[in-house]
Subunit: 313 residues, 2 copies
Amino acid sequence: MEQKTLPSWIAVDWGTSNLRVWAMDDSANILATQSSPLGMNAIAGDEKLSFEGVLIDLIDRWLPTDVPDGQAIPVVICGMAGAKQGWREAPYCEVPTAPADLAMGAVRPDVADPRISVSILPGLCQRGDADVMRGEETQLVGFMALHPDFSGWVCLPGTHSKWARLSDGQITAFRTYMSGEVFALLSQNSILRHSVDETWDDGAFADAVLAAKAQPSGFLHSLFTVRAGALVAKDGAVVPPGASVLSGAVIGAEIADVLGLLKAGDEIALIGAGKLASLYQAALLVHHHKAVPMDGAAITLAGLTRAHRVVIG
Amino acid sequence: MEQKTLPSWIAVDWGTSNLRVWAMDDSANILATQSSPLGMNAIAGDEKLSFEGVLIDLIDRWLPTDVPDGQAIPVVICGMAGAKQGWREAPYCEVPTAPADLAMGAVRPDVADPRISVSILPGLCQRGDADVMRGEETQLVGFMALHPDFSGWVCLPGTHSKWARLSDGQITAFRTYMSGEVFALLSQNSILRHSVDETWDDGAFADAVLAAKAQPSGFLHSLFTVRAGALVAKDGAVVPPGASVLSGAVIGAEIADVLGLLKAGDEIALIGAGKLASLYQAALLVHHHKAVPMDGAAITLAGLTRAHRVVIG
């Protein structure tokens, strides 16, 4: 039986509805990885669960039986574990901020298990144009580690899409859009649910993206045309699929707003995977911006690795 | 016992979730009125109900025991009874259209009861910028009967708010906004439900209305600030109530779009009652437009009265 390699540290991405852990060696190699559906909401909703208990269950087999004093394995966590309802609140850092500031803002919850030493990274906030993020800031840090000279906006699509401006090694501003949640509510719970099915048409999506930029104030009206378009179509006319039109209207409205914030020379990067990232890629291309989606998990891990180096000192 | 006065005709407003009937004399006086929750949806969802049966139940005591041939009492109906899923489909009239065109488009469903003769008024549609309405067109006709020289936009707030442009005795264009439904979904089913309660602040509402016009493309971002505003507030700071901010953002976005369509000399009128109409009034006043809400039921009845005159010939 092979001697098991102990991780030199453990990276953790603790989201609202997911938990992912990586056992890491000193050279940023992944020794093992695990994931679980026990995100913050699941733990907050079950009094038999604790953050430490859930974490230990997931990483126990990576840990030694015991460790000498002062040799506890570092665990670096980003995401909702640092929220007010999380494991221990890690107060927001405020923009503009640099990766090192974020790492220095980590909090250390009390831990019963002597084998681990836990650091929870803070989220990011913006006053004035009020906004918050928890977790995505670590992806931004990872992105900056991989692309140190990038200047412009990074898009992280999702239920609450985030766009962050990076410049001179700092996160200078960001904006959250409720696009994913609004699309889900409209397509599942509004009158538009009757107009949305599996049918898809790339051209109808692109048209809706363009229309969103041409009429930036018309969002609440454009939604109703998803339904009205089918009702007024003449017999035999092809009706653009509602899902394509609605998706284009929502993603298009978000992108139109960001395009208004671009400064000369700003680049656009896209972090994400799957169908949603492809839609953002397509919508950006409608406006002649090429952005190839980058894998979010790898970028999160790069951000946690960067934070680990600062936390360890 | 008093001899009962027979109505010379009966006016009916048949909505999605409500039904209202008026017994009318020849001089446009109301002899009696009734209402019922048996709107189109309730009838479509219960195979034991029929449109004719529900109507007769509601107006039976206004009708004579029997009527001579050719003397059936006219019943004029607007609203969802004319939808595809209604009593009998009354195909949409297309803008631009005049009140007489709408009345001439009425359809006459077969009726088993010989005491009534039923006309169902059509809805209104717009191609190009696709849109539809059913019921509100009759309010517009009533408004035009009461204000024949009005030129500008009429607002009918609701789940799906309608704005219609009236000019030279015609309805020339209209736009539906999903504002009411979007507000309901966001305040009840989205993450913003945690930020919305009974607390209200007129100033916060007005600020959000102004912000919606200042940043017309920022709607999906402004929604998230309802939540983020509370999260980033410093200890002891007064947080604007979420309901006021969300309501101002949604109604403000709708009004900002319409204000962009105003032509020189255009007036604005507001048909509705209760809290929602007051909010539209307040939002319009933020932008220096005075519009006093007018009672919708009276205006519907004026529209049905106008249609009855045309239908009767």
